[in-house]
Amino acid sequence: MPIGRFSVTSFLRYISTIMSKPIVEVSHLYKSFGTFRAVEDVSFAVRPSTCAAFLGPNGAGKTTTMKTLYGRAVPDVHDETRMRVFDFDPRSDELSVKAKSGVVPQEDNLDVELNVEQNLRNYATFYGLPHEFIERQIDYLLDFMELGAKRRARTRELSGGMQRRLIIARALLNDPELLILDEPTTGLDPQVRQVIWEKLRNLKHRGVTILLTTHYMDEAFQLADNVVIMDRAKTVLEGPPRQLLAENIEQHVLELMNARAAPAAERGAGDHAYWRKDQLGERIIYYANDPQVLRNMTSGIHAHDYLLRPVNLEDLFIKATGRSLNELQ
């Protein structure tokens, strides 16, 4: 009875998630590089077996925040700062954190001189795990990440998607309880991204806690139980994706491809209807909570020139972080 078992497990997981204390807890984190403030007073907590996604434009401080969790970046000394990952403070005991975690950094940094299998075996040595466990784990992970056929392939010959999967496999060698991924699918094609999302969802269902950064809204929406939107070193919004959408932005969107249609649309809405307008070049976007208002707006517009859709994280993201590019983008 696999179905019955699954619902029981998921129920138990739900209960334990609510009851248990967070695996990662950070409050009042600060980090600067010279005079540049990379992270300013960021706080968050991640509960076991959940996925938290950090969203933000380049330079928002997402990667730096991740790096402080495993000792790749040293936070500024600040009286208020509290950091805990498992039962360790990464500022003083990064090795204990890393022994129980898996890290997928932003850059592809496989050992290009070694083949797929050797990359895993070599990396496993760093954990000091028993030989039989390592061999079993390598077989399992190559299968899990669908890299079995590439076992003896040179790392250089792998496609971008395969390299990324191998790096994720490498981060899973120690069967971690926490997986930290920095932009895991940036630059990959849609199929590969789907496969990676599926694997990450699978890991989450097995109880792995996942922390990831991304600038793909769909990635955050697909995977995350909790989203932290960062901009200019600060947390702008935080919460479950659906709740964020419900509480912070109008629920429906009308996109006009051509700005010339705008006057007709606004006349169509009538005098007392509420809507909000945003413009990006030729593209005009109307937001409203009442879909009927937006439908009325389309009455005088050709069907090719508009798109009616529910609001998504990208709209919220743009509303929260502002449209203009920052100096690091």
């Binding site: 790749r72 940094n109 795990l129 309880e177």
Partner: protein, 275 residues
């Protein structure tokens, strides 16, 4: 997709019982060292042939060529004098290359260290492992030169048995120095200054080819400052079992040089690995 993920769940080796503590310091250094050994031995032929060839070229070209005219140097047959010096220059070159170009490529191009820092290793572990690896290469390169020298009958092998340990110390010294240089380097071409301006001149003015006593008096203090002089003197003392008080100074020099340059290099490179 979902059926494959369920089957994956079933074959997953039931764990969570495994030890999740970080390995101890010795294991961590060993695992970094082992990474270098594994990568190096992947291309053993192309990596390990040059250390045999280079001293061979010098022995034949200079030893036998020039040796026909210069028969004696400081009371030793010239070919033996030269051979005992060449024992440690190979260690110098290999460690200097490994910890300059090699380290820089791992750091800036392949990002190997950044990958390793995702595992329970600290930046210090990486750098110390790197130093010991370069020292190990110094040991094996000196060993291969002694084998060549013994095969050519220049010196009996039993006299050379302990010299690879001087090769180890030489490798360590030049690893520390080169890592310090690397910590300042922004583009890989800057190493050309280090090799043309420092390593190559040192090769000729450290008593490998002729006694430093023959240099002008003004140049003598410089030869005492540069590290290779001390390595060459120690290798020669060990080979011919002729120890003098000056060798005590050489040992002190090697220890101090390694400690000081090693510590500064460690401190500076760490800031390049950790934000």
């Amino acid at each position: 997709m979902s059926s494959s993920s369920i089957s994956a769940e079933q074959v997953h080796p039931a764990t969570r019982s495994i030890n999740h503590n970080p390995p101890n310091f010795i294991h961590r250094i060993y695992s970094v060292w082992l990474r270098h050994v594994r990568v190096y031995t992947r291309n053993l032929f192309s990596n390990a042939l040059p250390p045999f060839l280079e001293p061979l070229i010098f022995l034949v070209g200079i030893g036998f060529g020039l040796g026909a005219y210069v028969t004696e140097m400081n009371g030793l047959p010239f070919i033996q004098y030269l051979a005992s010096g060449l024992l440690v220059t190979a260690a110098m070159f290999t460690a200097a290359f490994e910890c300059s170009f090699g380290t820089f490529i791992r750091l800036e191009f392949d990002k190997v260290y950044q990958g390793m820092l995702g595992s329970p290793l600290s930046a210090n572990d990486l750098i110390i492992g790197e130093m010991l690896w370069a020292a190990t290469k110094g040991f094996t390169f000196t060993l291969s030169v002694s084998i060549i020298i013994a095969i050519f009958g220049v010196l009996p092998f039993e006299r050379l048995v302990l010299v690879p340990f001087v090769g180890f110390a030489t490798g360590l010294m030049f690893a520390c120095l080169s890592l310090l240089i690397t910590s300042f380097v922004k583009t890989i071409n800057h190493f050309n200054f280090y090799f043309s301006g420092f390593i190559s001149p040192m090769f000729f003015f450290s008593g490998v080819f002729f006694p430093i006593e023959n240099l002008p008096a003004a140049a003598r203090p410089i030869t005492e400052i540069i590290p290779l002089t001390h390595a060459v003197r120690l290798a020669r003392a060990l080979t011919f079992a002729q120890w003098e008080t000056v060798h005590l100074w050489d040992i002190v020099y090697v220890v101090l040089f390694t400690a000081i340059f090693g510590t500064v290099a460690l401190f500076r490179l760490r800031t390049r690995l950790i934000d």
